[in-house]
């Protein structure tokens, strides 16, 4: 330690900051670790008191999540062929047989289609709208922007009844299209506002330079503006996906079968003889993965922070 710097923290500050950050991370990550652990417990371990930190891991929860099972009598069991796969064996040990796949896989797929579909449309439409608001003379621009924002001034669920009736009239209830439209509509105001902020930051000179360099207005948009808005587009996409992925209330209200997403489905996983917590926890764990993977994939864009150094302000 030789001097004092405004930007460089001292070792002691670094140490305190480190402790604080790590403690906070531990506190927030606890429930997550708990859920992941519960997914690998046996049903009795999962409700043991005091809670078990060390336990015999089992895939029973995951098997229960993906299958439906029926109980059989011991003498019937004797007549059956011995189990051929590891998951059959787990089920057989409980005195049951696999009756077929559960609906979790299909519900999960619904979540993927609806979540990513609505994210795509929110970001696609949002980028076009934000670019127009940022660059063109749009009549009553400020009022329009305020109007777009005002759609988020109440919780979306406040309009649940009208939307429910509207969806029934239009035949959109329990359809993928209906849910994608709904989530896109809800997310669009966020996406327009976020992206407009990012696009406003990009100096107009770049597009003008591209126009001079022989490109059309549209080429300037997608070759020069879009790459520089990548950070903004990535973070907007993550926000939109998180909302659509986790949305529960509308999903409960508007979907029941074909288009039901994972959030309303997971709580309905009830095992024979009480709540099957390991299966619920396994469902929650799998459900968490896509958003996590998506975020990690886009992390590079989020953190890179394109240098705007080439234009001096």
């Amino acid at each position: 330690m030789s001097g004092f710097s405004i930007t460089e923290p001292s070792n002691r500050t670094k140490w305190i900051a480190g402790v604080l950050v790590i403690s906070y991370a531990l506190i927030t990550i606890m429930p997550l670790l708990w859920i992941i652990a519960t997914g690998f417990k046996s049903p009795s371990d999962s409700i043991a008191y005091p809670p078990k930190v060390v336990f015999q891991p089992t895939l029973e929860g995951y098997v229960n999540l993906f299958t439906t099972q029926t109980r059989i009598t011991p003498d019937m069991q004797d007549k059956l062929q011995p189990p051929t796969t590891w998951y059959e064996e787990i089920v057989r040990d409980k005195g049951m047989v696999i009756a077929g796949p559960s609906r979790f896989g299909q519900r999960f797929l619904n979540s993927v289609i609806i979540g990513f579909g609505s994210t795509f449309f929110s970001v696609f439409l949002g980028t076009l709208a934000a670019y127009a608001f940022s660059r063109f003379k749009v009549p009553i621009k400020d009022d329009l922007l305020f109007f777009i924002l005002s759609t988020r001034m109440m919780p979306p669920i406040a309009v649940a009844i009208p939307i429910f009736l509207m969806f029934r009239q239009l035949g959109l209830s329990d359809t993928h299209l209906g849910m994608i439209l709904l989530y896109t509509a809800v997310n669009l105001s966020l996406s327009v506002w976020l992206l407009k902020g990012f696009i406003d930051e990009i100096p107009l000179e770049y597009e003008e330079a591209a126009l001079i360099d022989g490109y059309t207005r549209f080429q300037a948009f997608y070759k020069v503006v879009l790459p520089q808005a990548a950070t903004g587009i990535a973070s907007t996409a993550i926000f939109c996906l998180i909302f659509a992925w986790n949305e529960y209330a509308f999903a409960v209200l508007l979907t029941s079968g074909t288009a039901q997403t994972a959030p309303p489905f997971i709580p309905t996983i009830i095992g024979v003889g009480g709540q099957d917590w390991p299966a619920v926890a396994a469902g929650a764990t799998i459900f968490l993965m896509p958003v996590m993977i998506f975020t990690i994939l886009l992390r590079k864009h989020l953190l890179r922070g394109i240098t705007f150094g080439a234009v001096r302000k």
Partner: protein, 365 residues
């Protein structure tokens, strides 16, 4: 390369007129300076020539073709932005080759062209670097590279040295001028720095409040300003204004200041009322036996010359005299004026009165 003609070009932003009915001509191969104070409409004029702004009225001819309503990409001109506007997501090589890619030029040819340009500008070693970390001078060179790489009809530059520090500006100014002389490309260069304009320009147009005040070669503009604004804006220190009330007749060769008679170039235009006697600081001499007296307010030593600030009966003026003559604050001195480059102005209109001296210059402008 091309000749560019600007005819009655005008730009309104709502109620505000940024450029008023401007006309001037840039000859093929000229290094042309668009000079004026901040906010006078230089950038707006340049952008209308480039096709980044639509004129409210008027015409722009590039090589005889009227282009004022054409998109920028069809005008075949290059633009160097004040802040360079290098594409931040591309490296130096891609920045320079970007205009060629839009023309669909084959890769090998692009590569060769970029190498040529890099050699001219001395930036071969940074071709693969991202533009983010470049120094101001290198950014400037890359911006120039992007402009010259495709042999456009003309270069438009908006204060291209504005973002550089003073020391480096001079160096880049020389480099730019040398580059121009080598390529002979028609160049329109915007600046608010009169020294830069005088040093670099073949021709200058001086603008103020959206109006073209004067248009000509640097020496003419310096010697024979068309308006008091130009006289004041150009030169450092600027032209002195000695205010007097009087009457000038056609054919007059003298005017009276504070009761003393001074020679002026033969006047071709009469005027009366509030008039101004304009003279450059270097055309004033201190002479003890002159009856026109002044008091020394301040002296500023500049090496071989000194600037003397003087209080006269017609206002405060500055004289540039050799340093060999000792002058002290508070001294009373006599002044004589070299009549050759005197311009009389009508204070009401701010315009120069036509004389034998400036008639050749002001007739064409």
């Amino acid at each position: 390369m091309a000749q560019i003609i600007i005819k009655n070009l005008r730009k309104d932003f709502g109620d505000f007129t940024a450029v008023q009915e401007s006309s001037f001509t840039i000859e093929d191969g000229e290094f042309f300076m668009l000079l004026g104070p901040s906010g006078c409409g230089k950038t707006t004029t340049l952008r209308m020539i480039a096709g980044l702004e639509l004129p409210t009225s008027g015409e722009v001819f590039i090589d005889g073709e009227e282009v004022s309503q054409k998109p920028a990409r069809e005008r075949d001109i290059a633009f160097v932005f004040q802040m360079f506007a290098l594409y931040p997501h591309m490296n130096v090589r891609n920045n320079i080759s970007y205009p060629l890619k839009s023309q669909g030029m084959p890769k090998a040819q692009i590569k060769q062209k970029v190498a040529e340009v890099a050699h001219i500008l001395g930036i071969e070693d940074i071709l693969n670097k991202p533009v983010g970390g470049l120094s101001g001078g290198d950014r400037q060179r890359v911006a120039l590279g992007r402009a010259i790489v495709r042999d456009p009809k003309a270069f438009l530059m908006d204060e291209p040295l504005g973002a550089l520090d003073a020391e480096f500006r001079e160096h880049m100014a020389e480099e730019l001028r040398a580059l121009h002389d080598r390529m002979g490309a028609t160049t329109i260069y915007v600046t608010h720095d009169q020294l830069e304009a005088m040093q670099m320009g073949d021709k200058i147009v001086v603008m103020n409040h959206g109006v073209v005040e004067q248009f000509g070669v640097p020496q003419e503009i310096y010697d024979w300003p068309a308006t008091m604004f130009v006289a004041d804006f150009i030169g450092s220190p600027s032209m002195n204004f000695l205010h007097f009330q009087g009457n000038v007749e056609k054919g007059d060769r003298t005017v009276h200041l504070d009761g003393h008679s001074f020679y002026v170039p033969e006047q071709l235009q009469g005027a009366s009322g509030d008039l101004v006697f304009g003279i450059r600081p270097e055309n004033i001499t201190l002479s003890d036996d002159s009856p026109y007296r002044a008091q020394v307010l301040a002296t500023e030593y500049l090496g071989t010359t000194q600037i003397i600030t003087l209080e006269t009966a017609n206002g405060t003026i500055k004289a540039r005299v050799p340093s060999t003559k000792p002058v002290k604050m508070g001294d009373a001195v006599g002044l004589t004026f070299n009549p050759r480059n005197v311009t009389l102005f009508d204070k009401g209109t701010g315009k120069a009165l036509i004389s034998e001296g400036n008639k050749g210059v002001l007739d064409h402008g």
